[in-house]
Structure formats: C-alpha cells, structure tokens
Amino acid sequence: MPEQQEFENGANGHILAGRYYGYGLPYLPIEHYPGKIIAIEGTDGVGRSTQIQLLREWLEVQGYGVVETGWTRSALMQPTIELAKSSNTLNKLTFVLLYATDFADRLEKEIIPALKAGFVVLADRYIFSALARAAVRGVDKAWLRSLYGFAISPHLVFYLKTDVDTLIRRVLSARGMDFWESGMDLKGGDDIYDSFRAYQNKLLREYNSMADEFSFRVLDARRPVDAIQEDLRRQVQTFLSSSDIGVEGPDVEASR
C-alpha cells in the first residue's frame, strides 16, 4: 500500500506549482514549460462555468492564449463514463479509475501541450473534486494521492465555497438533484433530499480538509457573480504579472 498521505514534490513538504505531484509521466518532462494552470474548484451549483467563461474572455482580451478543460470531456472517455453512470454495475474503485483515465487523457492531450505553448489553462474542476468524491466513498486517501501522482500541481487553485442550504436551493431551481450528485450510490435510503444533503455536507468537509494541503484560495461563492469575478481577476492579475508569461493589458476592472 502506498505510504504517503500527502503530496510533497518539493523541499520542506511543500508542493511546487507546475510540477508533477508524484512520480509523474516519465515520458513527458515538463520542467520549464511556461504555461500556467488555473483551477476553479467547488461543488455543483457554485457557478464555476460562469466564472470561467468571464475569466477566459478577460484573459483573451489581454492577449493570453487560453485553453479550457473540464471533467469527463475527454473524447476517449466521455462515452464510457456516460455508459458507466447509466448502468448499475460499477463499483467505486472502477469509477475512480475511469475518472483518472479521463484526467490522464486530458492532461497529456490538452493540458501539457498548452503549458508547453505558454497558454493559460483554465480547469473547470481539477483532481480535487475527484479526490473528494472518492474519499466520501471510503477510498483510501494515500492510494488516491499515489494514483494522481501523474497530475501536475496547478499554479492557482480557487475554491468556490458555499454552504449546503444555498447549494440545495440553487440546484433545485436549476435542474434538480440527480442520482450521482445526491450520492444515492451510497445507499443511505430512498429520500433524495436527505441523501443529497448528507452527501454534499460530506463533500464540503472533504474540500475543507484539502484546502491547506493544496493551498486553495477560498472564495465565498454566495456573492454576486461580478463580485466573485472581480476577486478572481485581481488575484489572477497579480499572479500572471509576476510570472514569465505576464502581458501588459487593460485594467483589471475592465468595464463590461
């Protein structure tokens, strides 16, 4: 069984941005690749997609090349994962591995080439949602970290944090509680609301427990869209200006 409970790819137990968390992909050395990974994390219904879209537009206007990536979007894995979710024969380990395969595919085909080309990679969720979902299902945390040792540590991770009541109202107004978001596979009973609430609470606790380990920049997602975006832009601007791909561009508070 893997021993390591936390990642430590640098000295003094720190995680270095832009490096592999663990053993990585030996056949793809990534040192000195100029691009940056900015990950936006959070549960369902926190408004990630909206924020990413706004961020993307703002970055492109400034002259940054931007590549977006998101979960289960890999051409290789999407059909398989859809099929898996609609069947009832898969166990938690199989799901974890399917998601990890999707991530590996996107990492190698989309993210790494973008980093090499000096692009900004906006990731709609990164490995942390996968880690949270797996941990809630009782999958060993050390094993999970070993599995994702091939992932690259993002340069910025924003965690859009909300509370379960706000989350519930948003999800119900939008599309309703589906089987998976309600953690129904955990078989806590037939009531979707109860299951959703309990499951999302557990997920929120998992995200909180990872905030320090992975240096999450926590943002209150219950504020208006503009307020959150302003916060994001300010922090991204500060980071990119001092990085090797920083460009001169319009004001952070560009009028909309």
Binding site: M1, G22, Y23, Y27, T89, T94, L97, T101, W143, L147
Partner: protein
C-alpha cells in the same frame, strides 16, 4: 491512447474483474485461474514508460495470487510462433505507438524485448514460478501440474486482504 491511459484502462477493467470474477469465487472456496494478472501491467506498462513504482501502487488493491506462473519464452521463439500462425501483429501489441520503428516486426522485437526484461525483474520481486515455454506443451503441463499440486497441499490461503503489491 497514451501509456498512462492504456495502463489506467486496463486497471479499471481489472478492478471490475476482481470485484465480480475473482473475489466471490475465492470467498466460495473455489480456485480462480487467471489468464494474465497484475504482473502483465507491471511488465508491459513499464516497458511503455510509466513509472515502475506508480503502477505497483495502482494495483495495490489486487489480491495477491497464491501461485503465479510465468511462461518465459525467448523473443525469437515468440516471434516465430506469431509469424507461423500468420497473425498480423496489432498496433499496440507491437508497440507501434512508441515510435521505436516504422516496421511492425522490428517494433515488436524492441517492445517485447523490454517487456521480457521487466518480467525477469518480476520473477525475483514477486516470487513468480518460471515455466520454460519453449518446451513441448505436455512437458510444460507436467511442470505446471507439479507446481499446482504442491500449492494445493499447502494449508488454506492467507486472508483475502493480502494484496499484490503491499
């Protein structure tokens, strides 16, 4: 597919097979004959370039076999047999995705050479029982039966929790 996605997809399939086809029969006291196991991944995936330690950690959920037989065959024998059956070497089987050669046969030779080197390491690392697969089938079967008989005479297998790599 990349070496890593290839490795993960096979691990996914293995996890599924273990859940349905391996653990229940073991719990029922049956004998499970596995055509290939985690060791295939350790040899093949590492030959493709994944990290040796990573793939072992990946398979740490796999049940440790009571007996693992490695049918060792020199690369030329393997090639001769494939050629004799007029089998067309498949793309991934020949390691063509690795770009070692444009020629299927040459690529296969290079790839399988690396795989065989990895298997040799596994023999000591995991205590694999080697069967000389260049011998006649009946001779091999005799050796296999001897190994299996000896194994069956041993006391009942250790707890199911004992895993392949840890």
């Amino acid at each position: 597919m990349t070496p890593t996605t290839f490795s993960l997809l096979h691990a996914t399939d293995f996890a599924d097979r273990q859940l349905y086809n391996i653990v229940p029969p073991l719990k029922a006291g049956m004998i499970v004959l596995a055509d290939r196991y985690a060791y295939t991944a350790f040899a093949r995936d590492v030959a493709r370039g994944v990290d040796r330690r990573w793939v072992r950690d990946l398979y740490s959920f796999a049940v440790r076999p009571d007996l693992a037989l490695y049918f060792r065959v020199p690369i030329d024998v393997s090639l001769d047999r494939l050629m004799a059956r007029r089998v067309k070497l498949k793309f991934y089987e020949a390691g063509m995705d690795m770009g070692w050669s444009q020629n299927l046969v040459d690529s296969f030779r290079i790839f399988q050479g690396k795989v065989l080197d990895e298997y040799d390491r596994l023999v000591d690392e995991f205590g694999l029982s080697v069967v000389d697969a260049s011998l006649a089938i009946t001779d091999q079967q005799q050796m296999v039966r001897n190994l299996v008989s000896r194994q069956l005479e041993k006391p009942a297998a250790a707890a199911l929790a004992e895993t392949v790599a840890g």
